[in-house]
């Protein structure tokens, strides 16, 4: 692995640079630390940073630019072929596949312009990597030499090193922004590509979800998916809100410290269990259990349910999962209601439940609403439970025993299928992701605003 070796070589140069810088500083100060401006280690670090930073930056930039440049070469080599077939991205994907084959050390059997382009891009990639290593190592050596030559007892090493560290800290903090930018850019570009291939109006207002594998006559309306998502989330909240809220009330208002010490962590265990476990629970335990009651041959003989995967299966299991989100947040918020309010109410002769219903809950209401909104956004974004428990059919139905599907489940199925990345059937997943991102972000911002505003009331 040449890249790894390049990195190791640069690190080694930096280590040697550290030692060189340190000893030169010591020498110029006549081996007395007192004559130095900074502690000796800083002179070493200064040289090491000069060895690493430019070289690593170069590698980073090179790694981003090289694929684009190689694609450019490959497209030129394809030339007419790319224009004739009209789908350059498809051909490029072929080129990449063959080039990967070459890189893995096996020969390619195909011939023609694509194979030639693959050969060319493989050669360009190999050469590029080699030049990158050479340039980066040269830069590291040059940086070391420069910094070493400037090292003397009067050199202000510490401010330099600290400025570099500070830059590093800021860069780390900026990764959060970069991630958001990455998400938005990845979603937006692909969403635009999707809307160029498929009308936006049909996507947002279409009542049918029926993608076809071949890409002919796909109907990609989001409404059935949104309906399924909201329906499942609604059932989940129907399970989680009463259970979570009453648990929180009991734990914070009634329970003895010992019960609280057991009950609270036990509820939080529910939040720590990975969602795949809940998914399996829905698929193998809850689905068949509900089937044994509600299917045509079931105990109740109602015939409402035709399969184990249904809105109610996913909804109930998801409800279990989000109980702790409701209970923990509500618990915090109920605890934040000042005791004087309770004392006042109890002093007037109200029972504890009357106090809770008429004083504590109204005071905590905005916070609880925030907690429920956060739980709702959790439910809307949850994937594994609905992939395994809710079914795959995009249906607009009111019956909770029907199989329905959700935005997240369809993102998974559209992107894990065999569809070509540039087809509307795959690109639609990015638009679905965009919709999901916007909805959950809106809910989160709203919830956080409510919670924050409420918390400030008593402070």
């Amino acid at each position: 692995m040449p890249l790894l070796w390049t990195l190791i070589v640069i690190l080694a140069i930096a280590a040697i640079g550290y030692w060189l810088g340190r000893s030169r500083a010591m020498q110029s100060a006549g081996h007395s630390t007192r004559a130095l401006h900074s502690l000796p280690g800083y002179y070493g670090w200064n040289v090491a940073i000069w060895a690493m930073a430019p070289a690593f930056l170069l590698i980073l930039v090179w790694l981003v630019i090289q694929p684009a440049y190689v694609n450019h070469i490959a497209l030129q080599a394809l030339g007419d072929a790319a224009q004739n077939s009209g789908s350059a991205s498809l051909l490029l994907a072929d080129v990449h596949r063959m080039a990967d084959q070459l890189a893995a050390g096996s020969a390619i059997s195909a011939e023609g312009p694509t194979a030639a382009a693959a050969q060319l891009s493989f050669a360009a990639n190999t050469a590029g990597r080699m030049w990158m290593s050479i340039a980066a190592i040269a830069l590291a050596l040059a940086g070391t030499a420069y910094a070493w030559s400037r090292t003397n007892a009067q050199f202000r090493a510490r401010p330099r090193v600290e400025a570099a560290v500070r830059t590093l800290l800021i860069a780390s903090a900026s990764i959060a922004i970069l991630t958001t930018v990455g998400i938005v850019v990845a979603l937006i570009f692909n969403t635009i590509a999707f809307f160029q291939a498929y009308p936006a109006l049909d996507f947002f207002f279409g009542l049918t979800w029926s993608p076809s594998a071949g890409g002919v006559n796909s109907r990609l309306g989001i409404l059935p998916l949104l309906w399924g998502t909201l329906y499942i989330s609604f059932i989940a909240l129907l399970v989680a809100v009463p259970l979570g809220l009453f648990s929180a009330i009991y734990l914070s208002e009634y329970a003895s410290p010992r019960i609280r010490a057991i009950g609270k962590p036990m509820l939080e265990v529910l939040a720590g269990i990975p969602s795949i476990v809940y998914g399996l629970f829905a698929l193998i335990v809850v689905g068949p259990l509900l089937m044994s009651w509600f299917s045509p041959t079931g105990m109740l003989g109602l015939g409402w349910m035709r399969g184990g995967t249904a809105v109610i299966t996913a909804g109930v299991v998801m409800g279990i999962m989000i109980i702790p989100f409701v209970s923990s947040l509500s618990d915090d918020i109920i605890n934040a209601v000042p005791q004087s309010l309770r004392d006042g109410s109890l002093g007037l002769g109200a029972t504890r439940s009357e106090t809770i219903r008429q004083v504590v809950l109204p005071a905590a209401l905005p916070g609880i609403a925030g907690a429920i909104l956060l739980a709702a956004s959790r439910a809307i974004g949850e994937t594994m439970i609905v992939v395994m428990g809710a079914g795959a059919a995009g249906v607009l139905s009111l019956n909770p025993f029907d199989a329905m599907t959700t935005v997240t489940a369809k993102i998974v199925s559209q992107l894990t299928g065999d569809a070509d990345f540039s087809s509307p059937e795959a690109l639609v997943a990015f638009s679905l992701g965009m919709t999901l991102f916007v909805i959950t972000l809106g809910l989160n911002v709203l919830a956080m605003a409510i919670v924050r505003k409420y918390r400030e009331q008593y402070e």
């Binding site: 990449h96 510490r158 259970l243 529910l270 990975p274 629970f281 193998i284 279990i320």
Partner: protein
């Protein structure tokens, strides 16, 4: 005041109707609370019950002890023990040997049956032939001898031994006839067939969807380990650096506000969106290898960063300002005060948060589906350290999902078993976090 006389005379100690009603309402309300808590705990117990009830079976497996005559005429017709020649003998030839071996083993144990040898051989796993072949290729001197070998029983027989498969359910099954179960009963009495601990489940690799009895989770565990190493190596330094900046150095301006809002928003973005990001940026644009643990690690890093930053900032905030003031007072720069004094004191808290973030990342599945960590049968351990990160592999949750999707219900047992292992790891990590917190808890 004269109205007072109209109210009925009543003892203060006997509650009136309205008080009774109110007290009843009080009791009801309290009962709702207890009920809600009990239901939630009931769910937790049901969940644990189904995990352990269904999954514990994956840790044992049924094996058959049979005498296999490794006939030279079949396996090495040239008689020269050349590895190349030996490798030419396909599993088909071993299959016929195994059929004969089954018949002779039964005969030796005095078990009589009118079943065809080919039908009897279905008691053995279809991987049995490959097992024997591998044994012979590793040890060619065995050829010509009759060796006692232990091979896997088929998943149906295994299910019967575990009580999952019955004669009724086999009636519609083409893989094994119900009559074979009579033979299995006799074999069990004779001690030829037995169920014991299955190390292969923990350390083995995934098998094709025809051979649930052979599937193990070891290779996926390695994939998860590689991913966690990437997450740890990236998210700990980046998260700590970001927190230090925001907590200790950041001025109050638009830029830092933007970062703060971003971090709290990222903590709430659905995990599947991170999967889309990984697919688009790491695989489509940067052409990193699909299904590779390194890509999974990168995606999970971005996902866990907000969690780690939030907990690290709390840990930094908990270090009292007097420590910083003391350091500054004896002439340290702010950078030195932070790196030499504050950070070491905050380290236990930071590590606790990081371990919890890693635990969360370990169980995350949805983003892994998008970058292709399913649909790949991890049938071999990676050949090198480089391959462990860059070659396609699976991860524990992805492997569990994959097993749950397969048609053969015998894989469900594997999926639950995998979940037990996953939960054991999560428990260990949480335990470690609690231990760290206890060990280094400080009162200022």
């Amino acid at each position: 005041m004269t109205d007072m006389n109209t109210t009925p005379k009543q003892s203060l100690l006997a509650p009136d109707a309205r008080t009774k009603k109110r007290n009843a309402a009080e009791a009801r309300f309290r009962a709702y609370g207890i009920g809600a808590l009990l239901i939630a705990m009931g769910f937790l117990i049901a969940l644990m019950w189904s995990i352990f009830g269904n999954g514990i079976g994956a840790f044992t497996q049924t094996f058959v002890k049979i005498q296999v005559p490794l006939e030279e005429s079949v396996l090495d017709p040239n008689g020269n023990r050349e590895p190349a020649d030996l490798a030419r003998a396909t599993t088909l030839r071993y299959g016929s040997l195994l059929q004969g071996a089954m018949a002779s083993t039964l005969e030796r144990e005095g078990i009589t049956t009118d079943m065809e040898p080919a039908a009897l051989a279905q008691i053995l796993s279809s991987s049995a032939a490959a097992e024997v072949r591998n044994r012979v290729l590793a040890e060619p001197s065995l050829i010509g001898q009759t060796v006692e070998l232990e091979v896997l029983a088929s998943s149906r027989v295994d299910g019967y031994m575990k009580g999952r498969v019955s004669r009724e359910s086999l009636a519609r099954d083409r893989n094994l006839s119900p009559a074979a179960l009579n033979v299995v009963d006799q074999m069990r009495d004779a001690g030829v067939i037995e169920r014991r601990f299955n190390w292969n489940f923990i350390f083995g690799s995934d098998a094709s969807d025809q051979r649930p009895e052979q599937a193990g989770i070891g290779v996926s565990m390695l994939g998860s380990l590689a991913m966690m190493l990437v997450v740890l190596a990236l998210s700990l330094p980046i998260g700590v650096a970001a927190s230090i900046y925001l907590e200790e150095f950041a001025p109050q301006n638009r830029f830092t506000d933007l970062i703060e809002v971003n971090i709290s928003n990222l903590a709430a973005v659905p995990s599947i969106v991170f999967g889309i990001l990984g697919l688009a940026v790491f695989i489509q644009i940067m052409h990193l290898p699909q299904s590779a643990p390194v890509v999974g690690g990168l995606v999970l890093t971005l996902m866990t960063l907000p969690t780690i930053i939030i907990s690290t900032r709390a840990a930094l905030k908990a270090v009292p300002p007097s420590i910083r003031d003391a350091a500054l007072g004896i002439g340290a720069s702010r950078m030195q005060a932070v790196f030499h004094h504050v950070l070491p004191l905050a380290m236990p808290g930071i590590l606790t948060g990081t371990i919890l973030g890693l635990a969360q990342a370990l169980g995350e599945t949805a983003p892994l589906l998008l970058i292709g960590m399913v649909g790949f049968i991890a049938s071999n351990y990676p050949g090198s350290v480089d391959a462990a990160f860059n070659a396609p592999n699976s991860a524990m949750p992805a492997q569990i999902y994959e097993w749950a999707k397969r048609a053969d219900p015998a894989f469900y047992e594997r999926a639950w078993g995998g979940i037990i292992l996953l939960l054991v790891f999560l428990l260990l990590m949480n335990f470690l976090a609690v231990l760290l917190r206890r060990r280094f808890e400080r009162k200022w």
